[in-house]
Symmetry: C2
Subunit: 144 residues, 2 copies
DNA sequence: ATTAATAATGAAAACGACTATCAAAACCAA
DNA sequence: TTGGTTTTGATAGTCGTTTTCATTATTAAT
């Protein structure tokens, strides 16, 4: 799984004529070891803790490469920070976001996806992507 | 319609113990005269053109009051600017956004709204709001 | 009307996430 | 090795927005 993704990035880099660097390897390793919607800042701190030399800008730059090669997806939940999540091949999901504790639940809904296609078609749009987020209070925040 | 909305704001302000100011009246007038998803910057320039004295910060502050009182809704389409649109009582819509020319088409879909409620209920969420944006190429941008 | 308390304003500075710059370092093909 | 090219990281800059704070306006009480 992880090796597979590393290969994915290496192939992408090779095809693009990118050089192989220690920094990109480190950032990929650490990104692959994280779960769910990590902010650039958090990833940067994780990287720094084991590799103090790595710079801010490199983390930003490298995450964009991950998106370009299909390893990561940019997610924005309006706390003003860009987050990245892992792309799982053939999978797509949207998010329930708790406005109190910021916890996130992922969900999939075929019907909604289908309806979106219909809506786009009806308006002559060629869909490139979409963003569906449901905001509210998660079950544990409701109780308190 | 416009008088109704002005009353709405006045009532809100009174209930909140806000003072009535020339600036807030001006900004409300001009906001009510605009259409669809205006950015703070654009509204600020509109305000300035007839009332050069009004400050940047006041426009930002006042728009937040409009949202709080239910007159306006914040919309973010990821060009990095916050936009505001008019709230029409009892109406809700989502957006198709052209990634090429930035044009926006509004749509409503009962089924999707219903499915969102189901999804939230299934996960124990109490919905506060949602955001559904479909990104793609509009019909005229497709042709070119 | 005058006053006094307090809220609102606007110019300017600060903020925060991100991007650009650029000299130094790393990479890699020859 | 060498040398051309890419990448890096410190730092400065950008941009939308928020904060600060001295000044001004509003309002309720006199
Ligand atoms: Mn997710
Ligand atoms: Mn709209
Ligand atoms: Zn919660
Ligand atoms: Zn278009």
């Amino acid at each position: 799984m992880i090796l597979e993704k590393k290969k994915m990035f290496n192939d992408f880099a090779a095809a693009k004529g990118l050089r192989s660097t220690r920094q990109r390897d480190i950032i990929l390793d650490i990104f692959l070891s994280t779960h769910q919607h990590i902010s650039v800042e958090d990833l940067y701190f994780k990287v720094k803790s084991s590799n103090p030399g790595v710079g801010h800008a490199t983390v930003y730059r490298t995450l964009k490469l991950f998106v370009e090669c299909g390893l990561a997806r940019e997610v924005l939940f309006y706390d003003g920070q860009t987050r990245y999540e892992h792309v799982v091949a053939g999978e797509h999901h949207d998010h329930l976001v708790c406005t109190n504790c910021n916890s996130i639940v992922e969900f999939e809904n075929e019907t909604i996806e289908m309806l979106q296609n219909e809506i786009a078609a009806r308006h002559g749009f060629q869909i490139k992507g979409h963003k569906l987020e449901i905001y509210g209070l998660c079950s544990s925040c409701r109780r308190q």
